[in-house]
Amino acid sequence: MTWVGFALLTWVLLGLELGLRRMLEIGSTGIAPSFVFPLIALVAMAGTPGMVHRAALILGLLMDLLSPVALADGRGEVVVLGPCALGYLVAAHFMLNSRGLIVRRNPLSLGLMAMAGHAIAGILALFFLFIRKWIQGDVAIGAGAQLLAVLGSAVYTGLIAPLQGLVMIPLASTIGLQSLQQRRFARTR
């Protein structure tokens, strides 16, 4: 994978994630699609294990930096590294192990992988924050509503991802994901 192409795609998708979140959010529920996670799913479907883990970690750390967590009692917010980084890493590993079960060049497969992976990542991130709340007691985390938001966002991501896939799968070669490209004379793996 070419990291320059990956960086460019990451830049665009992070901008979409931050810029369109408010418009696409369902009411005030916090349920909104992720534009970054389908990129992880795409890399997981086509990249090598090392590539997938590094991409997931980088994207997870960036999302942690850009998504500060609210502190309890309205004291502001704090950047917490770890929830998305670990969540994306575990989800990427899950997708890596599951990619043999799906048709990789199909945008619907991308949607399915993104939905499942995003749910896993979201639950893990929430779990991490609960651990932090148990240790430090400073973050404003509520169990029910946020779990619903996480799962709802995963479904929403799964619905948006196929549309993203229609654009990203043809662009896979720009970031060096050759295995998603149709080979005329080679056997498909």
């Binding site: 930096l65 950047v79 770890g82 980084a85 651990i131």
Partner: protein
């Protein structure tokens, strides 16, 4: 030479795990130790801003921020409270204005009638000529307020409305001077001529039934010119009837001369039609009752003064 697995350092082999573990440890530190991450976040946010900024603006335009349910409810309650207080404030302003007007009217009446012992009483009209076919006006004032039969009703202590014909504990009935059954009343027409002092022509008016009063005025000659003093349209007409009306009512404004014509009964006299300044005396919203200190009730509908 390509690096073999064994030649790779421990850190390069386990970079991902090390970084992830480090991030997890950082994520469990107290918030006060993580402030520096805000400084790391800023450059990343700036890098992404060229894409996210315009999209955020577009989002804000397409979907303006909506208040949460709790905020919307609180906002609604605040708006209702604001509307209530606005109404109370405007009502209070109106009450103050009415009280100031009432106070000014009373002061003006006392000043204009220094020898008259009356207590001006401003009260609202409960039922007017539109509700009562006889043209009688019902006022929220009764014997408990000192009102008696014959008490004079005015508008602001200046314009004569009529007098009380019946009264009970809380209310009284006022008969306007323009009702057919009100009877005649003696008046003085204040004739104003340029360069000359105002002359008063005595007369007697009777209600016509259309809101005006008509009657003949006395024939007088100007002592300097020996010409007849004739009223003019617009001249004020005031009450001058000591026999039928109490002293508090004397010189109250009855109306203005609307038309003049030779009297059919006496060609030497002028017949005038007087129209009250208030278009419908039976439709006033409130009246000032001149409650006298001593019982000064005069039989209603008494004959007016003769010219």
């Amino acid at each position: 030479m390509m690096k073999t697995y064994s030649s790779q350092s421990f850190f390069s082999r386990n970079a991902v795990a090390i970084v992830a573990g480090g991030a997890a440890l950082l994520g469990l530190l107290p918030a006060k130790w993580l402030g520096w991450l805000g400084g790391v976040r800023e450059p990343v946010a700036v890098l992404v801003a060229p894409v996210s900024g315009p999209l955020q603006s577009l989002s804000g335009w397409l979907r303006p921020a909506e208040p949460t349910h709790a905020e919307a409810q609180e906002l609604r309650q605040l708006r209702e409270q604001r509307d209530t207080f606005e109404r109370l404030y405007l009502q209070s302003l109106e009450d103050i204005r009415k009280l100031e007007t009432m106070s000014a009217d009373m002061a003006r009446f006392r000043q204009a009638n220094p020898g008259v012992r009356v207590d001006p009483l401003v009260r609202s009209v409960i039922a007017d000529g539109g509700d009562l076919s006889s043209g009688i006006v019902k006022v929220r004032a009764g014997t408990s307020d000192g009102v008696t039969t014959g008490t004079v009703a005015t508008v602001r202590g200046e314009h004569l409305v009529g007098r009380v014909v019946t009264v009970n504990g809380k209310t009284c009935m006022v008969q306007p001077i323009t009702t057919k059954s009100a009877g005649a009343l003696g008046v003085v027409v204040l004739v104003t001529m340029p360069g000359q002092p105002t002359r008063g022509l005595l007369g007697a008016l009777k209600p016509v039934g259309d809101g005006t009063l008509a009657g003949d005025v006395k024939y007088e000659l100007d002592p300097t010119t020996m010409a007849p003093v004739t009223p003019r349209v617009g001249d004020n007409v005031r009450l001058r009837d000591d026999e039928s009306w109490p002293s508090a009512a004397q010189n109250l404004l009855v109306g203005t001369v609307e038309s003049i014509a030779p009297s059919p009964s006496d060609p030497n006299r002028q017949r005038i039609v007087v129209k009250p300044r208030i278009a419908r005396l039976d439709r006033v919203g409130e009246v000032m009752l001149l409650v006298t200190a001593e019982p000064g009730s005069v039989p209603g509908g008494g004959s007016g003064g003769t010219p």
